[in-house]
Symmetry: C2
């Protein structure tokens, strides 16, 4: 059996920064060649970044992707890396692209994988299964491919597949079995979700068994807008044995020697005897064509034996913390911000955001501002100052009362209007500091508050990035306690233990307006994350009156969550729901 | 030939308000019966409203739609309307719905049409072509149907289709031709776009020719979140002749007598001689099954002859104005706001928004606030007061300088930070008035400003609804001039003619920071609406340096347009891009 040394490049990519991404590919291809690898695989859409959203509809962007791919092949050869097989994701199109997203959905755009060799694009494959649920909109953006590409490298047949192809039964993996390949390379931009790693390994094993081939699964790392990719690249043998696994949220090259069958001797599913056939639960027919490409490629023997090793999974809290730190760091850095600023109330939410920011950027890039009012308690000011002292972030105090008083002296306000006024004055101060000093403002509202609308529109909701947007309040506490066990504790114990309060009126507590977070969070999870209705939530054991109260709050809070004022569309292409540009859009039109 | 009297109910529906929508159907069914109609057709998703977004993933919502449909059939019979055939859109599901949008995209949910008769759901049809471009996300929400439903009513075969089925070739209309039907009923929720009516009529004619059948096209009216539906219902004969056409943005019942072939005598495409075949450009095969349902239905003769008439199209400015007025009115009313408030600067944008608001809601529901600073010119204050006097809206003056001075006295701010501070103080005042008096705040930034980011985040961008969100600045002027020719001119001439200025520093003009709107708007249109790249925009005759400047502004402004702070997703179901609830969600979970 020949031995293929494969390298999985678990690296970071930036949407729109095609030259920068190409440079990353060249650098890691060099590292792969230095390790003796025959083939290196990069993540899905490595060259363009993922997700590219409406950029896919711009001809010039698709052209740039196609041109950059050809230039990359040539550059790799010029770098002396022409003999290395480089598998890389990019955007392709079959023919001239249409003028507009309305002309034809998908419109020939392809989520593509290419194999580069000797200065040429030696093979391409178009993703077959397009996800269109959750964070994915690929039916809107791409046309599915309907043929499997198999490349023969030194006598070993390698099939190219992309991401969702591995999540759905049938299609490319079934065709790979029919083709009798030795290895399936699956390139991914698979966003992090809590415990997703628990799902990935069994999935990769099952597909390996179905294909009767080894599977090399490589995933991206890094933050991109609201998504964060966690790596967790995996290599399994044809029998499902886990051979190698990369870390989570780590940039690394996973290099492993795979003993693979020669193509002639490969177990072709149609020819093999029943006994030799790999076990599959169910034979799913596929109608994909198979494109076979044979390369002049030498599997030069390496003298040593390389094992990728299996990295241990990290704890749940460590996983979430790493996701939040990486998401924030990449948002700040990919967008070119030098620093961040946030209001430090002494409460748990802003303390956790400050700790995340310091872990992500270092204390010298983080400014915390105490914004005390007449209702702020002494402990609030002390806890904010303590947080600053523990972490070394830049600390300043901006009392809000003079500005609040100016509004109250000139307008006739009462009740909720006065409470919200304080939060809005804080927002104006933070935005003024942002304008004056160039900081990105961080928002600190957790998912529980956001869900029930317990925040002030244009007040504490002000900001360009919110690390806690998807973190329920109970998890905020859990993360704070966990983080304080990792080295010097950054978060004041008092911020963790005191009852939460917005401090917008005397002796105010969250519990005046909200159910306890321990009973609130499960209802939010059921209603928001799992689309459960009232009857289902009650059947799950939640108190009926509480369910009614929370559901009403969540429904009404929709107004606050849509802070960018909607308006009537008359062009069919207004910014908003149907016009989605990635925020970190580095693609510049020719200048 | 029997005569079918058809009534197209061009009416308004509200997302989530299933009981309210059912009441509308009963009321207009009564009117249709009173007019002697045999069949009345209501728009797509009439019973649930459109678009229902992520509500489709909630079992309880889909159950409510299905139950309400059956109850409606019984209620219509109880109303004495059992003999009337009532065609109505709703949401259906084939089997038990999944727990989550992630489990299976679409997941058996159907965008459905039902024919109700004698207290029963006599026939159902599931939409075949699902649009997934522009404002539509239907691949995410629904599964396509694969059979055509044909109902025989008093010897006439009528096919049921839904919306997009008419926009794409092949499928139901081809099957309808094969089935030899006399009439295709096409129910729609087709959002307004400028000049869309110019496209609809030729399309309906072409499909009629392809189907070899008369086509009755009924569309919704009314605003729903960012969409507005314009009606424009159409009836054409099998030969493409326009028989009747309803108005634009009008609630009405279009009643027309159609002479239709008896089913036996219908021109079956497979049997007819070549000469008798309707002319079609291209025969497109379809593989849809045909479900034939025969009802016990009497086409009772009417004594009179009813012609629906062809309503004249209105001018472009009238079309846009009607869309903006209807969009705002329905947003305010469907969400239960009593009144609106907006800042009146004396400039053209706020003047036009005020005029739209007064037309939509009446002057007694509109408050305009002059918010002068030290930089506000006398004419600004005068023009704002003049606007109030012309329209009768409630007018108040809130000088911002005392609050601005309080910030300046306590913080060290300069340049842009001071300019933005003024806009933000205005935002705080408007939001305080909203909290105090219950007004919805209207935003007044036009599409050109939004596109290039010429606005203050959390300043003039504050508000719950923006009538000008999709209106370029040049069109704002055009609308103002047009509106002033319709009766008493509401907009001060000076607001139209003076050079636009943000008045945030002495002698500031928009032209200091922006190209002239006459050259800016075409570039925005090409880049935003048509996805053109730099080279294409230059080839279209735009100045290269100007193109570079504008494209850079639009790209950078993406940060402002996403005012709701993004954050890292860890649940895969955070609010934001993949969690879309309609704002006007009237569906309450059982309470």
């Amino acid at each position: 059996m020949p031995t293929l040394r494969i390298a999985l490049a678990q690296v970071n990519s930036t949407v729109g920064d095609i030259p920068g991404n190409a440079a990353v590919i060249r650098r890691w291809s060099r590292a792969a060649a230095d390790s003796g690898a025959h083939l290196v695989a990069f993540p899905e859409m490595m060259l363009t970044g993922y997700p590219i959203e409406d950029l896919v509809f711009r001809n010039s962007f698709v052209d740039a992707s196609q041109r950059a791919l050809r230039a990359l092949a040539a550059d790799l050869a010029a770098d002396g890396l022409g003999e290395l097989a480089v598998v890389v994701g990019y955007v392709d199109a079959d023919g001239p692209a249409a003028i507009s997203s309305e002309a034809a959905p998908g419109n020939g755009r392809r989520d593509a994988s290419a194999l580069l060799h000797r200065g040429e694009v030696a093979a391409t494959y178009f993703k077959h299964h397009l996800p269109n649920y959750g964070v994915f909109d690929e039916d809107r953006h791409f046309e599915p491919g309907d043929s499997l590409t198999v490349v023969r490298l030194g006598g070993v047949d390698v099939a190219l597949t992309v991401c969702e192809d591995i999540w759905q039964a049938g299609g490319p993996f079934t065709a790979a079995r029919r083709a009798g390949v030795g290895l399936v390379v699956n390139i991914n931009a698979s966003p992090y979700e809590l415990n997703k790693d628990d799902v990935r390994l069994p999935l990769v094993r099952r597909r390996a068994a179905e294909a009767g081939a080894a599977v090399a699964y490589v995933n991206m790392i890094g933050g991109q807008d609201e998504l964060v990719f966690d790596g967790d690249s995996i290599i399994v043998a044809a029998d499902g044995e886990l051979l190698a696994r990369a870390g989570q949220f780590t940039e690394e090259l996973l290099v492993h020697d795979l003993d693979l069958p020669l193509a002639d001797a490969a177990p072709n599913a149609e020819l093999a005897t029943d006994a030799a056939k790999p076990q599959v639960e169910q034979e799913i027919p596929d109608d994909m064509a198979i494109d076979q490409i044979v390369l002049d490629f030498a599997l030069t023997a390496n003298e040593d034996r390389r094992e990728g090793g299996v990295t241990e999974r990290i704890a749940d809290e460590a996983e979430v913390w790493a996701a939040l730190v990486m998401g924030l760091r990449d948002y700040v850095d990919k967008n070119g911000f030098r620093s961040v600023v946030l209001g430090l109330s002494g409460g748990i939410d802003s303390a956790v955001v400050a700790a995340i920011a310091v872990d992500a950027l270092g204390p010298e890039r983080v400014t915390g501002v105490s914004l005390p009012s007449g209702y702020s308690s002494e402990h609030s000011k002390d806890d904010a100052a303590d947080m600053a002292k523990r972490t070394g972030l830049t600390y300043r105090v901006e009392p809000i009362q003079p500005m609040v008083d100016a509004f109250l002296a000139n307008m006739s306000l009462s009740g909720l209007a006065v409470e919200n006024l304080q939060a809005r004055v804080r927002g104006v101060i933070l935005m003024a500091l942002s304008n004056q000093d160039g900081h990105l403002v961080l928002t600190t509202g957790n998912k529980s508050e956001l869900a029930v609308g317990y925040s002030t529109l244009y007040g504490d909701s002000v900001g360009g990035y919110n690390p806690l947007k998807d973190v329920p309040k109970t998890m905020v506490w859990q993360l704070a306690r966990w983080r304080n066990t990792q080295g010097d504790p950054p978060i004041p114990e008092n911020s963790i233990t005191k009852p939460p309060s917005a401090e917008l009126r005397p002796d105010q507590k969250d519990s005046d307006s909200l159910p306890d977070y321990e009973v609130l969070d499960p209802i939010i999870k059921g209603y928001v994350d799992h689309d459960l209705g009232r009857a289902e939530l009650i059947a799950a054991g939640n108190d009926p009156a509480l369910v009614d109260r929370v559901l009403r709050m969540v429904d009404l809070a929709e107004y606050k969550r849509r802070q960018s004022a909607p308006g009537t569309k008359i062009s069919g292409k207004a910014f908003g729901r149907d016009r989605r540009l990635p925020i970190t859009n580095r693609f510049r039109e020719g200048n």
